[in-house]
């Protein structure tokens, strides 16, 4: 099985989007956690540091996964590596 340039490009784009989303994930988790005390000084709905770790970051996680599924589905089609109809 020989991969074409187009296939390699697909994989590179996949790696890029994966990295970007993982950076968002990292910030939403560890950077927020690191600065939790400082963020707690700000009040949006509740103390921000607490609110982010209790709810905000969770919403970001759900969004990350939704975006990845959506983006990759389109990318599969664009690069012709999508699966055929199932039945």
């Amino acid at each position: 099985m020989q991969l074409t340039e187009k296939h390699k490009q697909y994989w590179q784009i996949n790696l890029k989007i994966s990295t970007i989303l993982l950076v968002v994930w990292f910030v939403a988790t560890f950077v927020m956690g690191w600065y939790a005390r400082e963020l707690n000084e700000i009040t949006i709905i509740g103390p921000l540091g607490f609110y982010m770790s209790a709810q905000g970051s969770l919403i970001i996680y759900v969004a990350i996964i939704w975006y990845y599924a959506h983006y990759m589905n389109n990318l599969d089609k664009e690069y012709g590596v999508h699966e055929g109809e199932l039945d």
């Binding site: 099985m1 020989q2 991969l3 296939h7 697909y10 994989w11 996949n14 994966s18 989303l21 993982l22 994930w25 939403a28 988790t29 560890f30 956690g33 690191w34 939790a36 005390r37 707690n40 709905i45 509740g46 103390p47 540091g49 607490f50 609110y51 770790s53 209790a54 709810q55 970051s57 969770l58 919403i59 996680y61 759900v62 990350i64 996964i65 939704w66 990845y68 599924a69 990759m72 589905n73 599969d76 590596v81 999508h82 699966e83 055929g84 199932l86 039945d87």
Partner: protein
Amino acid sequence: MAAIQTQSQFFQSLKKYYTFYTGGFIAFVIFVGILEQMGVPNKILGYLFLFATIALYAGIGFMSKTADVGEYYVAGRRVPALFNGMATGADWMSAASFIGMAGTLYLSGYDGLAFVLGWTGGYCLVAILLAPYLRKFGQFTIPDFLGARFGGHLPRLIGVIAAITCSFTYVIAQIYGVGIITSRFTGLEFQVGVFVGLAGILVCSFLGGMKAVTWTQVAQYIILIVAYMIPVVWLSVKHTGIPIPQISAYTTAMPKIAALEKEFNDKASPKGAKEESVRAIFRERAAAADTKLKGLESGGPAFLAAEKQKLTDKVTALKAEATPDAKAIEAAEKAVKDFPADAAAAKKAWTADKGVGARAAPVKAHAEAFAVGGKTPEEIEKNRSIAKKNFLLLIMCLMIGTAALPHILMRYYTTPSVHEARVSVFWGLFCIFLLYFTAPALAILAKYEVYSNLVGSSFSALPAWVSNWSTVDKTLMNISDINKDGIVQLAEIVIGGDLIVLATPEIAGLPYVISGLVAAGGLAAALSTADGLLLTIANAMSHDLYYKMIDPNASTVRRLAVSKGLLLVVALLAAYVTSLKPGDILFLVGAAFSLAASGFFPALVCGVFWKRANWLGAVLGMTLGLGVCAYYMYITYPFFGVNAPKWWDINPISAGTFGIPAGFLGIIIGSLISPAPNKEIQDLVDHVRYPNLEGDIDTRGV
């Protein structure tokens, strides 16, 4: 379900079935509610919930019975994303999440959020790094992937060992939860409860394997999420008038809690002064116990005898008084009777007494992150940085462990396509998220209830839920008038974490039927997770060990028979170990995550993203990861009695902090010092990376 059905027809009929099912379940709850109004006793209602739900799961399990290998191991690979998501949710959320989570948050405030973050954020790693690739590979188990990707039996065998170790550790925690719930709501003994629960687990998985477990888990998810949400929404309406607890708890209850916390800690305020009077008593007791301990150490048995003599003298003196006080004499005689018999017992009792000093500590602010004590500002700063480090590392271990637990990863083999696998991770996290972002709000609302309504009420007129629970179980609710002023102070209340979810319906003033519903939800959470885990263990042994390594020519009938037999053996063994009540649940759970993270994650991720990774790397990485992780737990967790100093102050629950890097290091070194994998394996890596390739190889298991 006929084979001629298309996938979308299948989806439509599933939707129809589960809508009917949900309607039926709600009708059942209403029916039980009517029975309650007619005066049927609570115990009967509890039995009704327990047996009706187990019978329901058994029914689904029976209808899904199968003799087809593909259906038994991966539910025929036709589970639509939404339903796979719900099944993942039930598979994922255990008794610890359902019953324990809100309580942990109640007790530890911000610091408890490590579990909320760790157990949700891990799905980002599943979605991006593993699920779509495992689906494309498309066989039956996680060791299957290790075996095919790295070649040879050894990586598969290590995978089998890792899967069994972490799943077995985790399943014990689940069966424990099942035992507690059944015994609490039906009055059966814990050990009996364990085996009744076990029957409930086996009826789902025994006949239909993954197919039955999947469709049961969807049903269990619906019950558990309904059971969790109803009381919390009700409580939110009661306290704030807004039915969205995730907002109302923060805008309405949180500021009031913060104000009350300040008041409790301010000795000049009326409430603070009362708290202080209780705390002073605790400090005195702790100091007295400390003096006695020191006396015991220097004086030995002679000191013990002298102490006892003092108490006996007191009885004599009281009796000799002109007007003897019967009550005081009784108390003094009791003190003599309860006096520890020997030095060892005395040391134990007084050390426990000294521990009440902790109850004299000021109230910790709920939202404060990394609240620690310390005598000097430098010491506080140092303790805070240790707390922060452990908080973040625990999140990391839980997240990576999430992305490595075989019973979760296995679920992504069951979707019809790579695309559906990606979408199903989204649905999975969404289903989990619904519960996890409600739990912190519930903790706040419950705290508000305790701080503003319970504290300050009179001991002669305690709220009904408090008196009920304090008679049922002292470990959950222990309340006593320490300073004898007849009024409840916060320092006089000791709450066990599990109380929060269990008592919420009563706090919110809901009828008993809702308490029964919550118990059914907790049971569904524990049963569904135990099902997934037992199946993983049995499959690792029957498929990987027996079929792939011992007898590759075994017939289908024989393979399924072996699998079912093993399922039974493993289940009985797990129930037996559970009935011995080993150790601390939270630690068992934490250990399972750290072990999975260290053993599987590096090998799985490198298997997909690094073509150069090879046999030696995988073997070295998995052994090193597991070894380092297990070793660190062994030397630092008090249960094993070694108690070596911690490395960089990192807690044993986060042992993966060392295991995961060791695993990656092992893979990198092992791979680089041995030749690159052959063309066939390189092709396999390309195969899993693309959902569809022309002239592709086929690795699907049949």
